[in-house]
């Protein structure tokens, strides 16, 4: 049975070579004419090399992650004479064979005969950097817009199109399938939070953590009336630290760090299927006892979903106390317009080595975690901020 | 509508009529030139100064049932064929009420269904259209008619001239081709236009009759053109008339014609046919100076009124336009890029 060469096709004007990024079939597989065999990547697009005719894959001589020139032989298919004729391949090909010397299989080699390679590219290119689930055709975009969906919603859909793209057919199948499953309506709060978190996540976020002793805080709290929540201590400490160095709460816009003009700090309040973030304005300028009443007011308003417009928005950092859920540690996500979010975990009695006494002593410890936009500051600056907050929280009477 | 001069007038009457058309044409042309210099006209202005005798001679020998395809310098012939002055003025001034409704301008005007064909710019192209009109009328059984197409000597170089004259000859159509050899096609002298010693010789090549005439000579024009038209009407096939003159203006009013040598202007060829006609009529006592003066002032007033009227009329409104070139409305592709 004739052996038909699988050759690197002419992929587009001015493209001379492409790199193998994925083999979709293996030797021994039976394939059909036109079936996708190998995924290749040029500097412009991801495309596929397809089977010149139906048959059995005899061998691949091309290797993963290597580049091959247009016209190079990448493998062989064993096909019947009829099949070869059907696809016009019964004429002898000028392509070089696999088992000749390695000159063929080298980077940047050119087709030695210098002839134009026919046929031209068999697959239509999917734009580079957009292959896979994130590429949306105009029709898919239009359809998703109709349904109020966004690119993030595509993540769960398997794509059957070129380079794994999600075709409209794939999409409609997915939607039809969804209809068969239990659906509950997402509240508008949920949708809003989803959008905010998606937008925030477009940045490179990192988290650092530090355990802080909160014995002093708990003692100080007993002496206050009304009693400030633990999170308020963290908030006030954060505000004071930011007043000392506001760059870490700045925003990166292009090549400028935009410093905050006021240290307004928000704090997360869980409210029915979502999170609200009321704000304490100028938290660096008022001592703790002056912030308590306002803080408690805002928490109550938030829980009742009655926050006035001027009580939210415009904050430069947020504090979240997930310790109330019993969590000791978490990596919160900053609001999309902020660089920092400070998390406070639940306090626990932990053994702490006391060098002077030469033994473990019990202390109340809670984890502070700081998630930050890594474009604005690095681990060092984040660590220093946390250390400062920790120091401030160990002297609560000064807050 | 068109009101041509009927054949039943005595020769003298016909010559007087022709002269009056020449005079009006000259004054109309002067008016257009003045408007052009005053910046009142969009696009070009093309005058027929020096060609009035030849052109008027054509118009006065045609009947309403004949066909006429005049060219750039035939203001006199158009008037003689019955075109009202207001048509010419409206077309030059772009009035929406003119025969071309602003879609074409200056000398590209006519009324096709009245046998008065509007020219397109490609020289020679109108001759086969005249052939077609004659062809159709013959198919309908109409006889005794004539079609006149006017050309300059430059147009005799075109393929269209050749094809059309040949076609008319093969079909034995009553076509009269009047070639005004005014020595220049824009700036191109006849020495660069053709190599034969006499354009009239071409007639032999096509198997048609020819006539030659000094186009500065008013009475000769009347006689020769009249004879050629009569021959065609009588069924002797296409007639080629070659008339010789000097163009007494630029190709258009934008052209100062400085390439025309003064010697030519001062030669017999450079005579003004209007003056020649006037002298002829005065000598024959068909008219006197006072009469001519009256005609002149009447014509000036008529022209002024037409210009005043046309200037008050609306220009075409692009928002009222049906922007389609097909008469079959339902076949219009209304895909506007707004």
């Amino acid at each position: 049975m004739p052996q038909i060469s699988i050759i690197m096709p002419q992929l587009g004007e001015s493209i001379a070579e492409a790199a193998i990024i994925n083999f979709l079939v293996k030797p021994g597989d039976h394939v059909e004419g036109g079936q996708d065999l190998i995924e290749v990547e040029t500097n412009k697009a991801t495309m596929t090399v397809t089977a010149p005719c139906g048959g059995r894959i005899e061998s691949f001589c091309a290797q993963l992650n290597e580049s091959y020139a247009v016209g190079d032989v990448l493998g062989k298919i064993e096909a019947t004479k009829e099949e070869a004729a059907r696809f016009g391949l019964d004429l002898p090909t000028p392509a070089k064979s696999c088992d000749t010397d390695t000159e063929v299989i080298s980077k940047k080699s050119r087709n030695a005969t210098g002839s134009r390679v026919e046929p031209t590219v068999r697959g239509l290119p999917v734009p580079a950097n957009a292959s896979g689930a994130s590429y949306m055709s105009p029709r898919l975009k239009a359809r998703m817009h109709e349904l109020g969906l966004s690119a993030a919603d595509l993540a769960g859909i398997a794509g059957s199109g070129a380079a794994g793209r999600v075709t409209v057919e794939d999409f409609e199948k997915f939607m039809a399938h969804l209809d068969k499953q239990k659906l509950t309506r997402a509240s508008s709060m949920r949708v809003a939070v989803a959008d905010a978190m998606r937008r925030s996540w477009t940045r490179p976020l990192a988290t650092v953590g530090l355990p802080v002793q909160i014995d002093a805080v708990l003692l100080h709290r007993k002496t206050c009336e009304p009693k400030p929540g633990p999170a308020l201590y963290a908030l006030r400490a954060l505000a004071v630290a930011l007043a000392e160095n506001s760059a870490v709460a700045g925003r990166l816009v292009g090549t400028n760090i935009v410093h905050p003009s006021a240290i307004d700090v928000g704090f997360a309040v869980e409210a029915e299927d979502g999170v609200l973030v009321p704000v304490l304005r100028g938290a660096d300028k008022k001592p703790l006892k002056e912030l308590v009443i306002r803080y408690n007011e805002l928490v109550e308003l938030a829980r009742q979903r009655k926050l006035p417009a001027d009580a939210t928005g415009g904050s430069v950092a947020t504090v979240t106390n997930f310790g109330t859920f019993g969590l000791i540690w978490a990596t919160p996500i900053p609001l999309p317009e902020q660089t920092l979010v400070l998390g406070l975990g639940a306090g626990r009695k932990m053994p702490h080595w006391d060098e002077a006494k030469g033994q473990f002593v019990p202390v109340m410890e809670a984890y502070l975690t700081l998630s930050f936009d890594h474009r604005v500051l690095d681990g060092g600056a984040a660590g220093r901020l946390l250390l400062r907050i920790s120091d401030l929280m160990r002297q609560p009477e000064k807050l | 509508m068109l009101q041509p001069v009927s054949e039943s007038h005595a020769v003298g009457e016909t010559q007087l009529a022709a002269y009056r058309f020449m005079l009006r044409a000259r004054l109309l042309d002067d008016k257009f030139a003045a408007l052009y210099r005053a910046g009142k006209i969009h696009g070009g202005v093309f005058l027929g100064r020096g060609q009035e005798a030849l052109s008027a001679a054509i118009g006065v020998h045609l009947n309403k049932s004949d066909v006429f395809a005049p060219l750039i310098r035939d203001a006199a012939g158009r008037l003689a064929f019955g075109e009202p002055i207001i048509d010419a003025v409206r077309t030059y001034l772009g009035s929406a009420l003119g025969p071309m409704r602003g879609r074409d301008g200056n000398v590209h005007r006519g009324r096709p269904t009245e046998g008065y064909l509007p020219m397109i710019s490609h020289l020679g192209a109108m001759v086969s259209v005249v052939n077609g009109v004659l062809f159709a009328r013959r198919m309908k059984g109409i006889s005794g008619i004539v079609g006149v197409a006017c050309l300059g000597e430059g147009a005799t170089s075109t393929g269209a001239f050749h094809e059309s004259l040949n076609q008319a000859a093969v079909e034995k159509l009553p076509l009269v081709l009047v070639v005004a050899n005014n020595q220049f096609a824009y700036s191109t002298p006849t020495s660069s236009q053709f190599a034969c010693p006499d354009l009239a010789n071409k007639a032999i090549g096509y198997g048609v009759e020819s006539h030659s005439v000094d186009a500065t000579d008013f009475s000769a024009c009347m006689e020769t053109v009249g004879a050629a038209i009569a021959r065609a009407r009588a069924g002797h096939g296409p007639q080629l008339v070659v008339a010789t003159l000097l163009r007494l203006c630029g190709h258009g009013e934008h052209d100062d014609a400085s390439y025309i040598a003064p010697e030519q202007k001062n030669s017999k060829l450079g005579r003004d046919c209007l003056k020649v006609a006037e002298d002829f009529l005065l000598k024959k006592e068909f008219a006197d100076a006072a009469q001519i003066a009256v005609w002149r002032s009447e014509a000036i007033r008529e022209i002024e009124e037409a210009v005043a009227q046309a200037q008050r009329e609306p220009a075409p409104d692009p928002y009222e336009e049906k922007w389609s070139a097909l008469s079959s409305e339902h076949l219009n592709e209304l895909r506007e890029e707004t």
Binding site: D36, A142, G161, T167 | R103, S128, G132, Q167, S328, L331
Partner: protein
């Protein structure tokens, strides 16, 4: 009169037919259909006449007017080799109310008459309000061995000019009914008859009704891909669709029928069903009908496309003489199928 009914743009010419002409053949070719339409027009309307080279006693280079001069003396007339003058004469007769059919011996020669077609005929109505009801018949398209000057497809060139109607029938039935409509239309019509289809395409009988001019036809229904094409390429597209059906794909084929006016609505409705568009034309790529269709769909219905719209045309060289070269020069069922597969797999 047949002419008046034609203004309605529907196949209303049939209303005037009292008795259907009896054709004694069992089948009728595309060429015979054109001859029958001309006979019908000559018979029904004394304003119609035919003018062209060798059309008289000889019956025309392709025999499209065979015996018509005998049946209609004085109405089928031989012209000298003067395409420019032929069209100029046609315009003159149209001004006088006649309805001339001008036969160009080959579409390729119509360029000698280009000036008269695009500057005289197509502008007459716009400039003067006097309609120009001429029909110019162009034998167009390639056949084996015809070479660069007997194979050209000029529909896009003429469609570019305002004031012209351009028709490209792909079937025997359309060749008949659309030529009758062309004569009835009051505007200049460029009627493109495909030379390959002349003798190769047969039908059982002539139609008794027809889609109006300006409507495209769904030649084959499908849901995976739309091929928009016209004239001989419709048959290549149908053959390609058959081949793809064996691979499990249903391809929809749209026969444009008229290039100008172009039925964008039918094309868009098809792309709405399939999301994928392949335009196929026998003419050259630059500014062709395929470019026009894609431009319209992309501009007006971008959100219907699930894949980039593609086109397949002849290679950008003059049409070659040798059959080997000619076979590779223009789209064939095989190359149409290959292009379709590419698009389906996107």
């Amino acid at each position: 009169m047949a002419g008046d009914a034609g203004d309605l743009g529907v196949g209303c010419w049939m209303l005037d037919v009292g008795c259907f002409p009896f054709i004694p053949h069992m089948s009728i070719t595309y060429l015979e259909a054109i001859r029958e339409a001309q006979a019908h027009a000559l018979r029904d309307d004394p304003r119609v006449f035919i003018y062209g080279q060798d059309v008289g006693a000889f019956g025309g280079a392709f025999k499209a007017t065979k015996n018509l001069q005998k049946e209609f003396p004085g109405r089928v007339l031989d012209a000298p080799i003067s395409e420019d003058a032929m069209i100029g004469l046609a315009v003159g007769t149209a001004i006088e109310g006649m309805r001339p059919i001008i036969e160009m011996q080959f579409a390729d020669f119509s360029t000698v008459a280009f000036n008269q077609i695009v500057n005289q005929a197509s502008t007459l109505f716009w400039r003067t309000n006097v309609p120009c009801p001429i029909t110019v018949r162009l034998p167009f398209g390639g056949t084996s061995g015809s070479g660069p000057f007997h194979s050209q497809c000029l529909e896009a060139i003429y469609a570019h000019y305002p004031g012209l109607v351009v028709l490209t029938p792909a079937t025997v039935e359309d060749a008949y009914s659309m030529l009758l409509s062309a004569v009835a239309i009051d505007d200049p019509v460029i009627f493109c008859e495909h030379k390959f289809l002349y003798y190769h395409l047969k039908a059982e009988k002539l139609p008794s009704e027809a889609l109006p001019i300006g409507k495209a036809r769904i030649a084959r229904e499908g849901r995976d891909l739309t091929i928009v094409t016209y004239s001989a390429m419709v048959h290549e597209a149908l053959a390609a669709a058959d081949e793809l059906a064996t691979e499990g794909w249903q391809v929809e084929v749209v026969d444009l029928r008229s290039i100008k006016p172009l039925d964008t609505d039918t094309v868009v409705a098809s792309v709405a069903r399939t999301g994928r568009l392949l335009c196929v034309g026998e003419a050259w790529p630059w500014g062709g009908v395929t470019a026009e269709v894609i431009a319209r769909v992309s501009a007006e219905s971008y959100g219907l496309l699930d894949a980039p719209p593609q086109r397949l045309n002849a290679k950008d060289t003059p049409v070659p003489y040798h059959p080997n070269l000619w076979a590779a020069h223009r789209p064939t069922a095989r190359s149409v199928a290959a292009a379709a597969r590419k698009l389906i797999r996107f």
